[in-house]
Point group: C2
Chain length 191, copies 2
Amino acid sequence: MMVTRAPARTRLLRAADRLLFTRGVQATPVDDLLREAETSAATLYAQFGSKDGLLAEALEGRLANWQAVWDAHIAEASDDTSRLLAIFDALLAYRDGERVSARWCAFLATASEISNPPKPVRTVLDADSALLRKRLLHLSRPLAGDRAAELADAVELMYSGVLASFLRGDPADPISVGRRSAEALAASYRS
Amino acid sequence: MMVTRAPARTRLLRAADRLLFTRGVQATPVDDLLREAETSAATLYAQFGSKDGLLAEALEGRLANWQAVWDAHIAEASDDTSRLLAIFDALLAYRDGERVSARWCAFLATASEISNPPKPVRTVLDADSALLRKRLLHLSRPLAGDRAAELADAVELMYSGVLASFLRGDPADPISVGRRSAEALAASYRS
DNA sequence: CGAAAACTAAAACGTACGTTACTGTATCCA
DNA sequence: TGGATACAGTAACGTACGTTTTAGTTTTCG
């Protein structure tokens, strides 16, 4: 029976997703990506142009996946409060997903590591933060009315704090701490 | 008139503090540090043994400075709540300090960039998180009693979230958002 | 003073890395 | 079937970087 492998392009994206965000972008040599993807340098540069090009597409994939998971958890929620807090449930599900491995947040890690990213990378990083801000603001509206911006900012900080806590390794279960805290904050904005 | 320069060791530490945490550790070549410090490679390796050794000592300096600023702001505070919230006032003062320049947090940035840091670096990073946890727990006690650990965890997330927001560039004034949110959280823990 | 220590300048070394080029092979499609 | 396309394997190139070495100069201090 013939075993069909995924195309080289897909294997490269998977390898990039796995290695770049666990070991670090600069800390991962192209050769490691090639070995992990079981492909050759010529293929990488034909498909993505450069290591940065591969990084950009890997980030785009992460963003699409994360957005989908977040979407699903918002849709499942039954009231305004749990829709706002769905970001924490989504994060829990996203991190437990099979194909997701990272030390903390792929976008923030990349932003931290590369001070002046090439345009395609910069674009994805901005898109991630824009998505976060836009959605939280929208979800805060029914809860806080014209003070929605304040609540959204507070929840955004809590969310980023949870991500940073993965890096710190403390507290042990940052997601539930973050969720509970955001819930208390949302309650205090009830008008 | 004779112009006395600071000793090479100090100049190297200052250069490291300035460059490593704004451009990134790996993104800053040793040659740039030498040029900025107006010294030579032989001096760097005689004094610090390696680039990592210099990094470790630069981080130790950051930690000492930060601890001192935080100390001072705790001492100035007049009640239990403002002592807990002093971390945000200290952060504001620390970031506005003359000699401090960084994209966000030197410790978290280093932890993110270097997945397996050499021992001296690892030690400082751990010390930073330990200081944060220990102090917040201590300052939470008079406000939350036996629920102090929960409040401390929540404030730790808010604080880390403020730091991460510097990286995101959003919201615009994360420190005051964080302080206000932590204040609301502390109030909800009043027993 | 005079020796030891600190420092500068510059070259050299070894290596790691991103990228390109070359060659051969398998796969797809008209 | 046959030619184009995708891909693997490998070698090579150029360069950037951390570190060492050598040699000469200044500073420190008993």
